[in-house]
Amino acid sequence: MQPTPSTSALPSAWSAQVESYLADGENVLAWLETDLDVQLHFASGLLVVTNLRLLSRSSTDAPWQDWIYRQGMMLTRRDHSGIGNLELTDTDSLLACWRYTLSNNLAAGRLLEHFLQQLGHHLTGELPLSPEHILCPKCQSVLDAPLPPGQEECALCSKEMYTPPSTWTLFRLWRFARPYKWRLLAGFLLTLGSTAATLVPPYMTMPLMDNVLIPYQNGKPIDTDLVTLYLSGLFGAALLAWMLGWARTYVLALVSERIGADLRTATYEHLLKLSQEYFGGKRTGDLMARIGSETDRINIFISLHLLDFATDVLMIAMTAAILVSINPWLALVTLLPLPIIAWLIHVVRDKLRTGFEKVDRIWAEVTNVLADTIPGMRVVKAFAQEKREAARFRATNQHNLEVNDRVNKIWSLFTPTVTLLTEIGLLVVWIFGIWQVSENAITVGVLTAFLAYISRFYLRLDSMSRIVSFTQKAAAGTKRIFEILDQTSSVPEPANPAHLPSVTGRIELRGVGFRYGTRSVTRDISIVIEPGEMVGLVGHSGSGKSTLVNLICRFYDVTEGAILIDGVDIRSLPVAEYRKHVGLVLQEPFLFFGTIAENIAYGKPEATRAEIVAAARAAHAHEFILRLPHGYDSLAGERGQALSGGERQRISIARALLIDPRILILDEATSSVDTATEKEIQKALDNLVRGRTTIAIAHRLSTLRGADRLIVLDRGSIVEVGNHAELMARAGHYYNLYQAQARNVDTEDDLHRQDIALKTEEARI
């Protein structure tokens, strides 16, 4: 038997078993490892399509089952809430069924395709099409368009990659520190100098004691010159330490502020590049907290705590060196508690880190409650739920308290313990020192110097132990920032982008499917929209109209199939370049804070005033803008509150007109306004649509009367395509929708218009 590429790809646990069971000349064409059994328990099974039959085994030791291709056999694939279902039936009954989780969905699709080919081959003798599919080199899945050169895996593969971020997150900040490395080095040298300078005074106590005070006590007069020399040395050192300390703090604070600013900007820039899918799953409050307060925390950490820490470490190292140089034995005794404290710090660090991560998460939760409620204040008030919202906030706050209490329990024990160890250390030095002095092994001066040093030394250790908490907080913050920075957009920029200098606006959808979580929203949609054509998408809400539009705009990437513009897969075009060709008018037009003119020129900031006015005129917005007190310079509020829905809509139409896109998407552009306003908008839209490939979604079917073709969607699939007359004549889905709308007297305020529209349409037929 010739090994085929697919057999070699069989999981190793199965390949030997399968091969021993195959007949002569039988080839494995496709396989699916089922990870669930019929009762939906996790169990590993295998399903194989060969050129002779369908083979299956429910576990490694279960008997093989096989089915020879025959008339009436059918394999169907369905999925529901995260589980796929394959059913093999013949004309009168169910033969078998298999379940799998959707991680195996691709394999299932491939298996089904091969099964149908083989079945067709056996029944009709028709040779299966030699697979001219392009396969992804990594996952072997069939691609709809060739991979752009330089890209080694398909979009699906890269989606499956999850690598946890490294624990040494703080070091990743180096990426942002690198531009300032010379200034950082200068800061470090200054730190070194200033720390050394602060260590001079305790050293001076030694000769002061031994050469001045003790001889005086023994009856010698004080040597004034010597005292002046020592004391001026003390003063000079203090002065030097002050100057160096000032310079160091200034330089490093400057750098850290810049690093913080870079971090914030980089995070926001990255955030803007992420796909709509990411924002769908995140809450605004959380993201705002991350970019705002986390970067600030990291910033303070670098400028204050890290600096202190560096000083402490230097101080300890230098002190240790000095102590050893004076008297190694006494130094050894002095430094004894150091490892114990180091160990203590290590133990508490882990506990504190998880604690602080928790505190951060709960803090984001608190912000989330606010971000959820404040924009919905009208609803809260309308339903008189202020008390409940207050209770919700209080509950979150309570949770915050609980988490904080737990952290503080460990934390509060930590500092006093360090202090206690410090005191014990001092005691040990006193005991050992007095004994040594009594033995005449050291002078009183040496002991005084030691005591002066170690009181500083332990003070440093104490503040060093405090750094633990700040480091952990900063590390937790860094992790949360890098979570955003590590997030790759689910609409990735192509590695080797293709470029379309000019676009005619031909859109082709090839077997497009999209899945949101476990819910498959659209299935196998294939259609070609010619340049300049206006297409209307019709269907019940939830039929996948908006999803289709989001896919065409590339807010999301398709899960199956491909979307091509002028024959080029949109995934191989740079995202921003592609979107330049697409104009979008939404149901709820969003106006940014700024003047009307700025809002119109949002997609083309370099537009001249004449262009802006021309666009506004074409959008029938010119006149009402002139009626505003400051004309084009009037401010449109946060959400353009001073303007009516229709007015805002016309501004957004002007916005789309100004960028002059080849492809235009109208997503329920007239749904939120009354019929009179709709007419105004419709006029504006007629100007916009002219000569562009247009895809329009409308709930009111009457708005789509200008469409060349209507595409009727139902539950994620295309059910009918044609113009109004054809579809009415077919008396199918569209006819029902139309009739339902025309009849719906109570809910549709434009009954009269509908009727007229209906009549005119009928007259046309």
Partner: protein, 157 residues
């Protein structure tokens, strides 16, 4: 109280449920869904036709005659998939995304958790974990888990 319902339900050779309404109309491929799969799994069960339209609403599963109830329970059992985590065996990392090894009421498996926000707090003490493919894993009572599992879980909450 057991009421004899005014509809009939049976399973055909294709394994599909066939519904016969009081006026004698037959619907094939009927599916059963729970309205509150987590909060009240045994109350509010709907039978839907292939178009997703509701055919009948069953207030409480316990009110049905045994035969009918087992039929519906079998159908529900074959469709719904929300493994309940009994034990967390291990996680690849405490930073997301990470792989979780868990023991569920449907056997041992592994899944990828994309982010902490995919662990949703339901009415306490229940938690719902959504893995990267969208399958929901339920933890009915997080305080009833063993010490090791709770410790792991705690790092993500």
């Amino acid at each position: 109280m057991i009421n004899q319902p005014d509809f009939q339900l049976s399973r055909n050779a294709f394994g599909r449920l066939v519904f016969i309404s009081p006026d004698g109309q037959t619907q094939e491929g009927v599916v059963a869904v729970r309205a509150f799969p987590i909060a009240a799994p045994d109350q509010g069960i709907a039978l839907l036709d292939t178009q997703g339209h509701e055919l009948v609403w069953i207030e409480c599963l316990g009110d049905l005659p045994d035969e009918l109830r087992t039929l519906i329970e079998a159908e529900l059992g074959s469709r719904e998939f929300m493994p309940e985590i009994k034990r967390i065996l291990g996680v690849s990392s405490f930073a997301t995304p990470c792989t979780w090894q868990v023991e569920t009421d449907r056997g041992v498996t592994a899944f990828i958790l994309k982010g902490e926000e995919n662990i949703r707090r339901l009415t306490p003490p229940a938690l719902l974990i959504t893995e990267s493919h969208g399958i929901h894993f339920l933890i009915r009572d997080r305080f009833a888990l063993d010490h090791h599992s709770r410790k792991i879980l705690d790092r993500f909450l």
